[in-house]
């Protein structure tokens, strides 16, 4: 796979589902880390129930699920620094800005939308 073009495209991964009800969040993160390991320009977006994935102090073991949220801390090793979260989605769910990783940028809907549209490819999970 040596002929993967060096980051000519920007890729956005949009997370729309809560962390433990399905494998979507984990599979989105797996994809993000692989894009990162190939040095592709990748950004993560969290909107709707997807914002639950960023909330700290969750106890996955109480429902017998593997806690993949810990893996988010690997993003910085792949220089994945563009992590955006929808402010309105947080407010609608009455969630505090208590996140389990740093570098999260909370954006109002308008700016969130503009950032998303600046990417060439959008994957939704």
């Amino acid at each position: 796979m040596s002929d993967v073009t060096q980051a000519t495209k920007t890729v956005a991964i949009v997370n729309t589902q809560a962390p433990f009800s399905s494998a979507a969040g984990k599979e989105a993160l797996d994809a993000a880390l692989i894009f990162g390991s190939f040095e592709q320009a990748i950004s993560l977006f969290f909107i709707g129930d997807g914002v639950f994935q960023m909330i700290g102090d969750q106890n996955a073991s109480s429902i017998a699920v593997k806690d993949y949220l810990k893996t988010f801390s690997a993003l910085e090793f792949y220089d994945i620094e563009n992590i955006y979260l929808c402010k309105e989605s947080l407010n609608e769910r009455n969630l505090p800005a208590n996140f389990h990783i740093d570098n999260i940028q909370v954006l109002a809907q308008n700016e969130f939308s503009q950032r998303l549209h600046s990417h060439h490819v959008i994957y939704r999970f």
């Binding site: 796979m1 002929d3 993967v4 073009t5 000519t8 495209k9 890729v11 494998a23 979507a24 599979e27 797996d30 994809a31 692989i34 894009f35 190939f38 592709q40 490819v121 959008i122 994957y123 939704r124 999970f125």
Partner: protein, 138 residues
């Protein structure tokens, strides 16, 4: 230069989005768009299940994928980690069978993945994303 398309299928065979994906590949080919690959991820990996038996009066997704691969050389890439999570593997019974097992089951399958699918990983998704002029996820 010919336009190129990569398709990402994330829905199981019984989803209408899978039917849409198959229709999209057909439409692309008819319009001289080169489909450089279909990547099966999330529940989409279930499309590769060899033993899935859909009632004969319903849409035969596996037959459709087989035809797209054999007639038009559309590459079908399967994410093996997502597949194994859902019971699909190409390493069935890869241990050394004991003489006891051999005597009872002379022919053992080594895979429950249909052979038109290429076993691959997320690196293939990166490559398709990078190469294709347009990427569509269903």
């Amino acid at each position: 230069m010919q336009n190129t398309l990569a398709l990402v299928v994330t829905t199981p065979p019984n989803s209408n989005l899978t039917t849409s994906a198959i229709n999209l590949v057909h439409a692309a080919i008819e319009n001289n768009v080169k489909v450089i690959g279909v990547f099966f991820y999330q529940d989409g990996v279930l499309n590769a299940a060899k033993h899935l038996s859909i009632p004969s009066d319903e849409f035969q997704t596996l037959t459709q994928w087989q035809q797209l691969n054999s007639r038009y050389d559309v590459p079908l890439y399967l994410c093996i980690s997502a597949a194994e999570k859902r019971g699909l593997t190409d390493e069935l019974n890869n241990h050394e069978p004991s003489s006891h097992e051999l005597s009872h089951e002379p022919s053992q399958e080594t895979s429950n993945i249909d052979s038109v699918f290429t076993v691959s990983g997320l690196g293939e998704l990166v490559e398709l994303t990078s190469k294709a002029e347009r990427v569509v996820q269903l």
